[in-house]
């Protein structure tokens, strides 16, 4: 199917869209926390992938390639939006202790509770966490993508997990 898509078969590419859009949307949504923006980024990702198909190396798995495009676009979007949150302890403390809307969500099912907690994370933590957890990227890959050191990735993941576990402590025992 990928071979057909590379040859320009749009229908074959349409099947790739069908197969992967949910997965890529989940990751981008996790990174951005904004539904409309996530859908726009996913759309752009597939368009860019289609335009770049002749540079795709046959034989390699398609999804990681697509994911790389999508996560890069999402990161660029975040940078453009200038929404990088400062990493001072105050922010971390606030994110960790502020129950926010979670108090109202006690009856939500686990998935939705998790989503709400994730979206309340400071963006830098959230992005690192999503790339690691949703995309199974290594620390080095995340570091390269975000232009930070693997040690910083380690630190961000640790903090992201601490905050999430704190917010979800009634679910995680």
């Amino acid at each position: 199917m990928i071979a057909l898509a590379i040859k320009g078969d749009r229908r074959a590419f349409g099947l790739l869209v069908k197969k992967y859009q949910r997965q890529v949307l989940r990751t981008v949504m996790g990174m951005l926390g904004d539904r409309d923006a996530a859908m726009d980024i996913v759309q752009d990702s597939f368009i860019k992938a289609y335009q770049a198909l002749d540079r795709f190396e046959p034989g390699r798995p398609f999804y990681p390639w697509l994911s790389r495009i999508a996560t890069n676009l999402a990161i660029n979007y975040i940078k453009r939006q200038g929404r990088q949150t400062s990493l001072d302890n105050e922010v971390i403390e606030r994110a960790s202790s502020d129950p926010g809307p979670l108090e109202k969500l006690e009856n939500m099912e686990t998935g939705r509770r998790f989503q709400a907690a994730l979206q309340e994370l400071p963006e830098v933590y959230r992005v690192a966490f999503v790339l690691r957890t949703f995309e199974d990227m290594s620390y080095d890959e995340i570091a390269n993508k975000l232009g930070i050191s693997p040690g910083t990735v380690d630190s961000r993941l640790y903090r992201a997990r601490r905050i999430l576990m704190d917010k979800l402590k009634d679910l995680i025992q």
Partner: protein, 405 residues
């Protein structure tokens, strides 16, 4: 938690990810043996990880469909790429697209027709006139009378075509329905025998024409099965043969060509399948294609005997390919010409039924014209050089249909 717990606790996240040196991993593992607090913390990290997989952000299928539509529209609007598979070819509206419109129209008018028939004692245009939407008959394909009614064949039998006609796609199915999930497909269960009344055409490209050519029943079946087994045999032969590396490379190229052709054929087959099957077939193809390419690259890279390729191309992949191909061919085992003929016939019949119920909506001249179009198409098919299975059966049914103002 013991005295060192804080020190270790900060490393648990990296430990969970396996992002520590082997020494550190061992150290943490040893600590976990003695510190229940850290062991629980690790357990919580695992729970958090599991929980993350439940997050789908609430995108429902409508939103996903819309997104998919947006993406496909955007891609369709792009200029065609060089070497585009569709460049330079005559664009033919796929039968499934035509039949989707047909099916939608049929359902629409069928419901109206049913309402009308149900209320025949009290003419529906009196009681429900305000609900009747004037229909331009040339833009709507409709049927009332023959839905679910088997056509009468020349042998006098009534053959239940409706069971094999997918309302949504217009694809004719046999008793062998598509698998419910890809696992089922992966079990490599062979399809049920092809029903006697379903002709299996050769795929268009092999015959160099755009319209599938229907073979005789026995030939068709042979074409389907022999091709699959031939491919399996080709691969198995590699294991037996012992020839030069150059000849080996040629063989690999040949197999790759076969696979490409198979994928191309399957692409066409997929084009007429219901959406759910497309995904399953596509999933299988992804895996097969991947396995094939990886195997070839690995073997070539290692510069080992080219024929060991066959060992890596495991027989399961070939079997799946054969299975998918058989199913695909089976699913498209109908003649688009007959579909078209039936569509025209049903269109005219439906117009007539509507005319009889409500002559102010449809004029007799319109019905007559549609019927004539149906005859013209029938003659066109009869005069063509193609062998069209069951044409005589349908011809009898269509010619027997008389109308009167």
């Amino acid at each position: 938690m013991n005295d060192n717990a804080d020190k270790y606790r900060e490393k648990l996240s990296a430990y969970f990810d396996g992002h520590l040196t082997p020494e550190e991993m061992e150290e943490i593992a040893a600590h976990l043996e003695t510190c229940p607090g850290c062991a629980e913390e690790l357990q919580r990290l695992a729970q958090l990880h599991d929980m993350s997989h439940e997050a789908d952000f609430g995108f429902d299928s409508n939103e996903l469909d819309k997104l998919e539509g947006r993406i496909n529209d955007a891609i369709a609007a792009l200029p065609e790429k060089e070497g585009d598979a569709v460049t330079g070819r005559k664009k033919i509206t796929p039968i499934w697209q035509r039949c989707t419109a047909l099916a939608a129209s049929i359902v629409f008018v069928f419901l109206i027709g049913r309402m009308a028939v149900k209320d025949l004692d009290r003419p529906f245009w009196m009681g429900h006139a305000h609900k009747v939407v004037p229909v331009k008959i040339d833009s709507v394909i409709i049927d009332v009378s023959d839905i679910g009614k088997p056509p009468i064949m020349s042998d006098g039998e009534q053959r239940d075509v409706s069971e094999k006609y997918d309302d949504v796609t217009g694809v004719v199915f046999g008793e062998d329905q598509p698998p419910e999930n890809s696992d089922e497909l992966n079990e490599l269960t062979m399809p049920e025998p092809i029903p006697e009344e379903i002709p299996v055409p050769e795929l268009a490209e092999r015959k160099g024409s755009e319209t599938p050519v229907v073979q005789s029943k026995s030939d068709s079946r042979e074409a389907v099965t022999s091709e699959g087994s031939q491919e399996t045999e080709t691969v198995l032969d590699y294991k037996k043969e012992s020839v030069s590396k150059a000849a080996g490379r040629e063989k690999v190229s040949e197999v790759k060509g076969q696979l490409d052709r198979s994928l191309s054929d399957l692409g066409k087959a997929i084009a007429v399948m219901p959406q759910a099957d497309e995904i399953e077939i596509a999933d299988t193809l992804f895996d097969m294609e991947q396995a094939f390419i990886e195997a070839m690259q690995t073997r070539l890279k290692r510069k080992r005997n080219i024929y060991s390729l066959a060992e890596t191309m495991d027989s399961d992949s070939v079997a799946v390919l054969t299975e998918v191909k058989n199913r695909s061919l089976f699913y498209i085992g109908h003649d688009p010409a007959i579909d078209e003929l039936l569509a025209r016939y049903m269109n005219a019949r439906a117009a007539y039924e509507l005319y009889r119920i409500s002559p102010d909506v449809v004029k007799f001249s319109e019905v007559d014209s549609l019927r004539q179009e149906c005859f013209d198409y029938l003659d066109e098919l009869k005069n063509s050089e193609r062998e069209i299975k069951y044409l005589a059966d349908y011809e009898k049914q269509i010619k027997d249909w008389q109308i009167e103002p």
